[in-house]
Symmetry: C2
């Protein structure tokens, strides 16, 4: 959206910076969406008792995702390259927000028993992390035609993902120096992107990340074993596990 607003600014020949206008307008749109998501929850026709069960989960989710975003910004600033911090960011920013909490909101609305909410938590955290790891791999190795993003954008931004952290952990001194120099360089060209891809592959970080995606996805599926779910819900959760981790964009 920030690009679309910036484009409108440029096309109309308005005053000031088109990019800044785009950023301001997109941020305000984000605020509106945040406000409206909450309004929709409350005006969706749910009775007060049902709503009261879901509300604490919804509140916690919004605080967590904001804290996760801050952790992400902080990690890029401090330059912390540990896989431990990368996993923590992925947990708060992604796993909880994209999979675990939405399932728990549904469970709360439906008045599900603890056995189901526990299973949803275990499934959601693992699948959510796998989803984020797939995102990280696509951000570095994805095809622009499929992802809709320029190749290597995550590298130019210097995102501290598990994939990158794993490369740092296994890098020799020369590789480490090159990773440090090139990651987060906004002028990184295609040759620079290709070189970082080589290092990430050569250190085994790509294989380690792919292996972890498989492990997490299997663990997510196993978390549902033996839990009393109806067939439709179980089928949807199996499909979700597949769709979240086997994708090209």
């Amino acid at each position: 959206m920030h690009r679309r607003f910036a484009g409108r600014h440029a096309a109309q020949g308005w005053h000031g910076s088109a990019a800044e206008f785009g950023n301001s307008a997109a941020l305000l749109l984000g605020d509106l969406c945040l406000v409206w998501s909450d309004e929709m929850l409350h005006t969706g026709g749910l009775d007060a008792g049902t709503l009261a069960r879901a509300r604490p989960v919804f509140d916690e989710m919004r605080t967590e995702v904001t804290a996760g975003q801050y952790l992400d910004v902080l990690a890029q600033a401090t330059g912390d390259t540990s896989t431990e911090l990368a996993s923590k960011v992925a947990c708060y920013k992604s796993a909880k927000y994209t999979v675990e909490r939405p399932l728990l909101i549904g469970a709360a609305l439906a008045g599900a028993p603890a056995e189901v909410t526990d299973a949803y938590s275990a499934y959601g955290l693992r699948l959510g992390e796998a989803f984020q790891l797939r995102d990280d791999v696509l951000g570095v190795f994805g095809e622009p035609a499929a992802t809709g993003k320029p190749a290597g954008d995550d590298l130019r931004e210097g995102k501290r993902t598990f994939l990158v952290a794993a490369a740092f952990e296994a890098a020799d001194p020369a590789q480490r120096a090159e990773l440090t120099a090139r990651l987060g360089d906004p002028t990184l060209d295609q040759a620079g992107v290709a070189r970082l891809r080589e290092i990430i592959t050569a250190t085994g970080a790509l294989a380690r990340t792919e292996h972890r995606i498989v492990e997490l996805t299997e663990a997510a599926r196993r978390a549902l074993d033996g839990v009393a779910l109806d067939g439709e819900a179980r089928g949807a959760l199996r499909e979700l596990a597949q769709a979240a981790t086997h994708r090209r964009r």
Copy 2:
């Protein structure tokens, strides 16, 4: 807050731009406050029926203020200098958000009759606009020691306030050219600020704005005449009208 986070970044010698880190962190803190304001409303011990009365007013307020902020950003971009648009921005961004809606939330929580909510609306919109006009005057003529902001900051930002719009409306061609050239110039120095103050005063825009503050404040007070309010509420609203418009910061 963005300056405080940027200062922390600079003091620690972290990677990347301290200013950008400050902006990102402060935006996330703003999101948290937005989310928490809503959470506090719902966890403050109000019963479901009372909450249901206040909720639509709260929802509308948040949408209005966001739209008002966008109108403000848009007016700066398009360079629209009409007093009409400046008043509209002040209405949505400030009058409704800072005075009218908070009163109406209170009225809804208390289950006030229509006579009271109508009077609160009339009082709030007028006083809220007067409050904003006082803000605009302080943004140009305020003493930095009292306001805590550098002198002329609003002029450097190029804010399209009623005060500035009134100056444009009454400016002769030479004054208009100078206003256009200097407003929004981030490098404006003290002499430039002094020159813009002179033009704003010479065009009668300052006097017109001060006159409008008095008119609006009196109209706000009159809106409460003959309405059944208890003495404490009436006294607080009179004090609020005074505090919002007679202030140095």
